[in-house]
Amino acid sequence: MKKTSVIVLTLMIAFALAFTWSCAKEEEKPVAEAKKEEVMMADAPQVYKLGLSLAITGPTSDAGNPYSKGVEDYFRYANETKILGEDTIECFIRDDQYKTDVTKRNFEDFMTEGIVFYLNYSTGSTLGLKRDFEEEKIAVVPASFHAGNLDDSNYIFLPIASYSKQMIGLAEYVATNHAGDTPKVALFIHPSAFGRGPVEDTKKAVEKGLKIDIVEVVEHGKDLDNTATLQRLQSKGVQYVICHTVQSPVATLIKDAERQGMVAGEFGEAGKITFLGAHYTGGNDLIALAGSAANNYFWSTSYTLTSEAGPGTAAQLDLAKRYGRDDKAANSHNYTNGVMVAQIATEVLRRAKASGKPITRESLYDEMLAMNGYNAFYPLTTVGPVTYSQSDKEGVDELQIYRVEEGVFRAVGAPFMPEFAMKM
């Protein structure tokens, strides 16, 4: 027993001596050699880590799934075409099934991995994690365009115009193009913070002189038949319904309206209702769900659509083809949405790298704030430039109105900035 103790003690002393000697040798390393190693490290290809937590399955995954494909494809493309030289982007993409607690866990895991930029998804989780983003001082671009995301926040950047701006933009479009007295409008919204958010802002715009009469705000349920709602609205003289929800309830609403012969064939047709909607109500999925009832539906978004030929849409279709995506994903505006936020992230990385700054959360945040004026970013997947500053955290300010014509969304007029949204 005594012999064993002596052997163990000897071994421990030997190990301690060897360790001290190796440390001393390290310190003795010539300064020039140490510097050389540092330079080599700096020249070595870097991997920039990013995170995305979203609903690939579960509620709203019809939007989240193509969105994640857009993000994945663009980062893959950026790496393969060496947009960042030899450096590469590694984006962790995780499904949160639209559950805020899972999003939080994913975000914490991503932080442990050392991400420098974060892409979030839902309104609920963006609002819920707002404090975490502030604490971590990390720039975040969500898929939610809720204006409330920006309240008391420094690090959240909306990719395009907020829902409020979209709803006000649609209301302005109604006020400008309506013939006759003040148009009577109903708002058809999702029964949640996401749906209710823009209502107050639209009412404020009316107070500031926007010439529409908001007759009623309808919060929809899981309705199988909207006959009562539609007849009530028509009895109150409603001529326009502006929707801010997801596609499925809008599809049921306009199908019921079509059955009752209420859908206007042209904008503002007398005695009929013209239906309009914000970003998440539209797209090809609405046409798939509503069929012919979707004709003459007016929709606002800041993205370009593949139904309208252009350099951005051609590039998007090429990207989808390159990575073997089917037609449905390739033509989805949510795929465009995913591509665009990945473009923003790649661009700030490129700019920070070009200016010789180290790639950190702080430097990327600074690059986001500097993205304005001559430094505005033109991703081609949107109808206007992406601009951010300390006082402007909504990326693309322009909106484009699209209208369904024979089952396809077509642009109506030129992109515009909602005048009343600017006044608020």
Partner: protein, 297 residues
């Protein structure tokens, strides 16, 4: 006045679809006293099978509907055989927990298919022009839905009252031990209950899918939406499901038509069914047609 009748017609249409959706709960509970939490998922699966056969396999929608009903019948029977058969005699809460697990499994499986994350729509197969009479309109989709619901509910009522198997199923629900002692195969009855529930779910899913479009979240949510109907009618009563379904449908339509948008009231169509449910349960805790069991010692 036509407005009132329009609301009545819409209420009956919606109510009968609720009744058909609620039927699956009732059929399983009636024979096994188990509440199948995964019923909404089976409704969605039925709708997707009809769509896949119609659009992807190119079969006529009428035949696809019948095939879907048959497939879901056997699918539900298999689910009972694989997951639930071993739990016969175990506490009811264990079986309900298994149905919760089943819900997650079906969710996961559907998410592996395009139906989990994409929206689809049945091809139009009925005339688009609605049937209008005296200012009251009903779409062909709704009318066909009501007809299918009526046929299925009448068939199930007859089945439980008149057929030997139906009476056996009621006997098992009443007392498993006594049923076994007179030679009724309890496992077979359970299998059949799940199968018939699957059949009704496929029919309900296909009808709802035709009205709302095929969206997994919307479809499986009907499993929860019809819960007040099941409770109000009485968990073990087919006629209760029909009456409660129509009551709920009418309440929703009248609330949307007469209350919402007046006196500062909004969203009453979603809340009122639950308020009425609570009031009725205060006086009739077993629902309108539920059996009130009294044990005498």
């Amino acid at each position: 006045m036509s407005y009132f009748f329009q609301l009545v017609v819409s209420g009956i249409v919606v109510g009968s679809i609720y009744a058909l959706s609620a039927l699956g709960f009732v059929l399983i509970y009636k024979s096994s006293r188990v509440l199948n939490i995964a019923h909404g998922q089976i409704i969605a699966a039925g709708a997707f099978i009809t769509y896949a056969l119609t659009v992807w396999a190119g079969i006529s929608i009428y035949i696809s509907f019948l095939l879907s009903v048959v497939i879901t019948f056997f699918l539900a029977m298999s689910v009972e055989r694989i997951f639930l058969r071993r739990l016969i005699g175990e506490p009811i809460i264990s079986v309900i927990m298994v149905t919760i697990g089943l819900m997650s499994i079906i969710d996961g499986l559907v998410y592996l298919t395009p139906f989990g994350t994409e929206n689809f729509s049945f091809p139009a197969f009925l005339p688009k022009t609605p049937i209008t009479f005296g200012g009251v309109s009903i779409s062909w989709t709704q009318l066909v839905g009501v007809i299918i619901t009526t046929i299925l509910i009448a068939s199930f009522s007859w089945f439980f009252k008149r057929s030997t198997i139906g009476v056996s199923m009621r006997a098992v629900s009443d007392d498993q031990l006594a049923s076994m002692s007179v030679g009724i195969s309890v496992p077979k009855v359970f299998g059949l209950a799940w199968a018939t529930a699957g059949l009704s779910a496929a029919a309900a899913g296909s009808i709802i899918g035709n009205i709302t479009g095929l969206n997994f979240d919307t479809l499986h949510a009907f499993g929860i939406t019809v819960f007040p109907v099941v409770i109000l009618g009485g968990l073990d009563s087919i006629i209760g499901a029909v009456v409660a379904g129509i009551i709920m449908g009418l309440i929703q339509q009248f609330a949307a038509g007469y209350l919402d948008g007046h006196w500062g009231l909004y969203g009453t169509a979603d809340v009122l069914p639950y308020i009425i449910l609570l009031v009725i349960l205060l006086f009739k805790p077993h629902g309108l047609f539920g059996i009130h069991e009294i044990e005498r010692v």
